[in-house]
């Protein structure tokens, strides 16, 4: 039972249009990420100085986010989605790759293979200006708020840092933001420890909004919340996007949540983008064996729809030495069906367009059909061995 995306009927709570958003239709892309790589070096050897390996958290990811769009990024733990977010926000230094935000290059570092050239970094002033336009909402409501600052100080810190020194003006802005995220304006003098998880997450959102950013990276914003609170925050994020024309990079591991809020969804596995498509297409007919397995593994909150699943064998490989060729080949059900074609282990698949906005990084994406999926489900079978 799929509903098409109904037009946004909700009227924004406050009429004022946030000053930061350009009225005219901006050029299509807000954020461009080219071949982004982030390796965490593993130190070893005698003095702990020599480099003995690297965790390839993000290993060459490219995508772009259109203005006003909500791009979902989904994947299991260890796939590098959170690292990707932090590198884009320059909270973590990138190993190589290029990120451009609203026309401003944040950094452009040559990859190892490329001809040597000097890496480019946005200057501190430029970064400060960009940060005003690019904000973040974190996962843990308890850890992302400084316990020793009042709500007023927390939400007002951004504007203060960006020059809004007039206390009155700041307070007004803070009150406006609190109202916008559904919090009582009197909370301005209260401290984080006096709020529930859901309310703290709203404070985090208000803090991000205070700078009137165009782009917000939401890193698992609702994962730590209870179901009923989760829906309140998701609705809030939806309303804000519609009202302020915000652009989201929405990172989460819960597929249902990502499907609900995103326009487009990217699926990541072991540091790479394996599939990117519009939200309806990706759920209706996934074009990568991992996405298929992922979707089939999610239990439906409906006893009637208990379905047989594709059960992937083994564990997620270690990002320190990923499998050769296609990283999913060690657990791929499609490869088994196709008699383990050699390409899977030798040639790393490239994210290629398959038409109607769908991209997949699988050599045999075209082989995925309902029948193939059904036989994969059948062959999964119980992982329990026979009766002792």
């Amino acid at each position: 039972m799929t509903e098409t995306r109904a037009p946004n009927t909700l009227t924004p709570s406050s009429p004022a249009v946030a000053p930061g958003v350009a009225g005219a239709v901006a050029p299509d892309t807000l954020l461009r990420v080219d071949n982004l790589v982030k390796h965490f070096e593993i130190r070893g050897g005698l003095l702990g100085m020599s480099r003995v390996g690297a965790v390839k958290a993000v290993d060459g990811v490219s995508f772009s986010v259109r203005r006003g769009e909500a791009l979902g990024l989904v994947g299991e733990s260890g796939c590098g989605k959170t690292t990707l977010g932090k590198v884009i926000l320059r909270l973590l230094p990138a190993t190589s790759g290029r990120v451009e935000m609203d026309g401003q290059v944040l950094f452009d570092i040559p990859a190892r293979g490329e001809p040597r050239r000097r890496p480019v970094y946005a200057s501190n002033e430029a970064m400060k200006k960009v940060r005003q336009n690019m904000q973040v909402v974190f996962q843990d409501p308890y850890a992302s708020l400084n316990p020793r600052m009042s709500v007023g100080e927390l939400v007002g810190e951004g504007p203060l840092v960006h020059g809004m020194t007039d206390k009155k003006e700041r307070e007004a802005l803070v009150r406006d933001m609190l109202g916008r995220v559904g919090l009582n304006q009197s909370h301005i003098h209260r401290y984080p420890h006096e709020f529930s998880g859901g309310q703290r997450q709203r404070i985090g959102i208000a803090r991000a909004l205070a700078l009137h950013p165009a782009f917000i990276v939401c890193d698992e914003p609702v994962s730590a919340l209870d179901v009923s609170i989760q829906s309140q925050v998701l609705n809030l994020l939806n309303d804000l996007q519609a009202e302020l024309g915000l652009t989201y990079l929405f990172i989460a591991h819960n597929l249902a949540v990502v499907e609900h809020i995103s326009d487009r969804v990217g699926v990541m596995y072991l540091g790479k983008l394996v599939e990117m498509a519009n939200v309806d297409d990706i759920y209706a007919n996934p074009r990568h064996p991992y996405t298929v397995a992922l979707l089939s593994a999610v239990p439906e909150p409906d006893p009637h729809r208990r379905k047989k699943r594709i059960i992937l064998k083994g564990d997620i490989p270690s990002p320190a030495n990923p499998p050769s060729g296609c990283r999913f080949h060690t657990r791929c059900w499609l490869r088994e069906q196709l008699g383990r074609p050699e390409r899977c282990t030798t040639e790393e698949p490239v994210l290629r367009a398959l038409g109607s906005g769908q991209e997949s990084a699988c050599h045999f994406a075209e082989e995925i059909s309902p029948e193939a999926v059904a036989s994969a489900v059948a062959s999964s079978g119980p992982t329990v061995t026979a009766e002792p």
Binding site: Q132, V136, F138, S144, N146, M149, H162, R207
Partner: protein, 309 residues
């Protein structure tokens, strides 16, 4: 409705803690006596320096009155041989002990926090260097160094214009204690800074465009004063005990000035004959040190973040 800041909550919790309150009162009284020492002594019309040979018997310098010359004029007795008033000595001694330990603690805290933050925040080479420096200082045999250098350094200080006599020796004690003391705090602060900078609210500030200085002073430092405060209230009594020990070993202040330590040191000779010489400064020292320790413990529990939620 104004929110109750962390500080108010901690103060409210402390107030509920009877032990902490008693200790706080005792310490305030000690510090008042310390500051007003001379005035109090003045009231009793006696200074720790005036000799009262008339109170001393011919029996080897033993005070005439019993229990070490306890009398109306000298409620705590008089010193063997010279007849100097013990109560006045206690008041003046307390003052010197408090001055030494408090100033040494302040210097330790300042040094410890600054170096701790620099080490914790800068990481890389500076952190390594400072870390090794701390280890080096911690490895020093403190007592040996203090005793052997005392003569030389106090002279150096007097040459630098510090007034003769005990001023240079007191300054020496303060310098030595804080020099060997700050690494302990620096390590704690460094550890805290390392963990705080990983916390998401610091990353949020960075994402907001806050500069390095703002991160340090408005995000990290406010979260540090709790461990610092606890450390200070536990270091100060250590320094008082240390000063007493050093006086005992002859590195402390010279007569005619006295501190708790030197009083204890001199009392050992007469312990069989006049035990009060040992018990009076001993009890005063114990009450002072125990009060600080208990207050420190109560403070630590009150500041425990788990309790704050």
């Amino acid at each position: 409705m104004v929110g109750r800041s962390l500080r108010e909550i901690i103060w409210a919790r402390l107030r509920r803690d009877r032990v902490a309150m008693i200790c706080l009162v005792i310490l305030v009284v000690y510090y008042l006596i310390g500051i007003l020492g001379p005035v109090v002594a003045g009231i009793l019309n006696d200074s720790p320096y005036t000799l009262h040979p008339d109170l001393i018997s011919e029996m080897g310098g033993k005070p005439i009155a019993a229990y070490g010359g306890i009398s109306a004029a000298h409620p705590l007795g008089v010193e063997w041989g010279t007849g100097r008033d013990i109560l006045a000595q206690l008041l003046f001694g307390l003052r010197i002990s408090l001055v030494i330990s408090t100033v040494a603690t302040l210097m330790t805290v300042v040094l410890g926090v600054v170096i701790g933050i620099v080490a914790g925040y800068s990481r890389g080479v500076t952190d390594n260097f400072l870390g090794r420096l701390m280890d080096l200082i911690l490895a020093f045999p403190f007592l040996l160094i203090v005793m052997s250098l005392s003569g030389v350094l106090t002279q150096r200080l007097t040459q630098l214009g510090v007034p003769e006599g005990n001023a240079s020796r007191i300054l020496y004690l303060i310098l030595v204690m804080s020099f060997f003391g700050w690494p302990y705090l620096a390590r704690i602060v460094r550890g805290q800074v390392l963990s705080l900078r990983e916390r998401e609210f610091v990353e949020a500030s960075v994402a907001m465009g806050a500069g390095r200085r703002r991160i340090l002073f408005s995000e990290i430092l406010p979260n540090l004063w709790a461990p610092i405060l606890v450390y200070a209230t536990l270091t100060l009594p250590n320094y008082i005990g240390l000063e007493a020990a050093l006086s005992f070993l002859g590195v402390g202040v010279l007569p005619p000035d006295v501190t708790f330590g030197s009083m204890l040191a001199n009392s050992v000779t007469y312990v069989n004959v006049v035990p009060t010489y040992l018990f009076i400064p001993g009890t005063a020292l114990v009450i002072l040190v125990v009060s600080f320790n208990l207050l420190g413990d109560s403070l630590r529990d009150a500041l425990d973040p788990k309790g704050v939620h």
